[in-house]
Structure formats: structure tokens, C-alpha cells
């Protein structure tokens, strides 16, 4: 194997490991807030490192530049839209779900209930 292939494999393994961490967090956490926090691992480290491995592979093999642009766009869209959906889902869950480990401090309830 060449050096580039080893670099690509290592980067992709890091990304898939953190995607696995996020999946395990979604399966193991006790309530929905913990699951939302764990699922952020997939959208940050998992996506960043898998796309980075793909970009290294594409650049080293001299495939067309439009592929690199599309990969960068996928990364930018995921990093730009995922926090918005997480925030909307967290606010929705706050209104409808009872948290399982009770929050030790809750400023949101005191300050503006609706």
C-alpha cells in the first residue's frame, strides 16, 4: 500500500469511530437530551473526518475538481444546518418530555415559561 492509502484509511477509521460513539450514545443515554448531545458527535467529528479522507483520496488521485467542491459543500451544509435542527428539537423536547436525570439548575423555566 502507498502512503496516501494509509492516510485515507486512518482518517476514515477515526471518522467512523466517532460515528460509532454517537450511535452508541443514542442507544445508551437515558433521556432525549443526552441523546441529542451524543448525536452531535456524528455530525461533527464523523462527517469532518470522513469527508477529509475523501478529499485526500480525490486530490491524490487527480479526479475532477468538481468532486472536491461537492464534498466541501456537503460538509458545509451539514455543519450549517445540523445545529439548527438540534436546537429546534431540543426546544420541542423541553416542552413535551420529562427529563430523566432532573436538571440540577434550570434558568429557562424561571425566566420565560412560554
Amino acid at each position: 500500500m502507498e502512503t496516501v492509502d494509509i492516510v485515507v484509511a486512518v482518517l476514515m477509521a477515526i471518522g467512523l469511530f466517532f460515528a460509532f460513539i454517537g450511535t452508541l450514545g443514542i442507544l445508551r443515554m437515558p433521556d432525549v437530551f443526552g441523546r441529542l448531545q451524543a448525536s452531535t458527535c456524528i455530525s461533527t467529528m464523523g462527517t469532518i473526518f470522513v469527508i477529509l479522507a475523501s478529499i485526500v483520496y480525490v486530490v491524490a488521485n487527480g479526479i475532477s475538481g468538481s468532486v472536491v467542491v461537492k464534498l466541501v459543500f456537503i460538509l458545509l451544509f451539514v455543519l450549517g444546518t445540523n445545529p439548527v435542527s438540534n436546537h429546534a428539537l431540543c426546544k420541542g423536547a423541553y416542552r413535551s418530555v420529562k427529563p430523566n436525570p432532573e436538571p440540577i439548575i434550570d434558568d429557562y423555566k424561571e425566566d420565560d415559561p412560554q
Binding site: 466517532f18 460513539i21 445540523n82 436546537h87 429557562y108 423555566k109
Partner: protein, 176 residues
Amino acid sequence: MKGFRFTAWLSTAIVCFLFWMLLTWSVAPRELLWGGLVSVVVAAFACRFFIHSSAFYLYNPVRLILLVFYCVIIFFWEIIKANVSMAKLVLSPKISYKPGILRIPGSPDLKSDYGIAMVSNCITLTPGTITMETAQDQEGRNYYYVHWIDVAETDRDKAGDAIKGTMERWIGRIWK
């Protein structure tokens, strides 16, 4: 059309045309003509959602270089630290943590919509914290309501420093 301004329209059209050129990846005259037409029409409808104040704010090369530097170095390092701590929490044999929702104060210099949105998105993207709401009190100070999965600090100011780290100072150099 309500709220239409020429500078906002021009700036949005330039960004739309750049997106078109990067996605089609060709410089044939037919592609450029259609791209220009479509981006002009789309920008006329979309500019009032994107730009409310100074239209050419981000066309400054210093700010663009700072933005790229922030995204590649500072933000990436924060994400790696937070991810490793989240991995430790998930892989521990018995999961136990103390969640909490804190009201942390924002920086007084950062008042524009894009700046507040970028700070709250960066807080949400680090695993372990989610911004639930941003608010503004009568004196014009900004607050972020942050759900923190493992509360280490119940004092609001110190918790704000621990959550935001150096991110807000760097974003304050990019946005007003």
C-alpha cells in the same frame, strides 16, 4: 417589493452566481448566461431574508481570511476536545451525569444577527452543549440559554467562560 435595496440584491446575486459556477464546474458561455439569469431572479426574491444591514460586510479579504482561520484552527480544536470528553462519557461502564440549563451572558460587542447566530451554532456544534434560546433584556445585553450535559460550574459568568472558551472572542473579530 417591500424592503428591496440595490446593494443587498447585488451582493446576494454575486454569492448565488459563485455557488452556480462551483456546482456546475464549467465555463461554457451557455452555462454562465443561464446561471447569471437565474441568480439575478433568485436574488431579487431572497435578498431581504439574508441582508438587513451593510451589504458588502463580508467582502473584506481580512475578514474572510479570519473566518477561514477560525473555522480551520480554533473551532476544530474546540470540537476535538469536546468530542474526546463525550467519548469518555459514552464509553464509561455506567453513564451518570448532571444536566442543567444555564443562562450565560453574551459579549457586549457582538450584537449583529449573524454574529449571535454563529456563536449559538458553534456552541451547539460542540458535543455536550446545546443553545436552546437567545434573549435580550431591556438594557440590550444578550443571553444564551444553554443546555449543558455535565454542569461543572453553576456560577453564570464562569460557566460562560467554560462553555464559550476562545470562540466568542474570535467571532467578535469577524462580526460586529
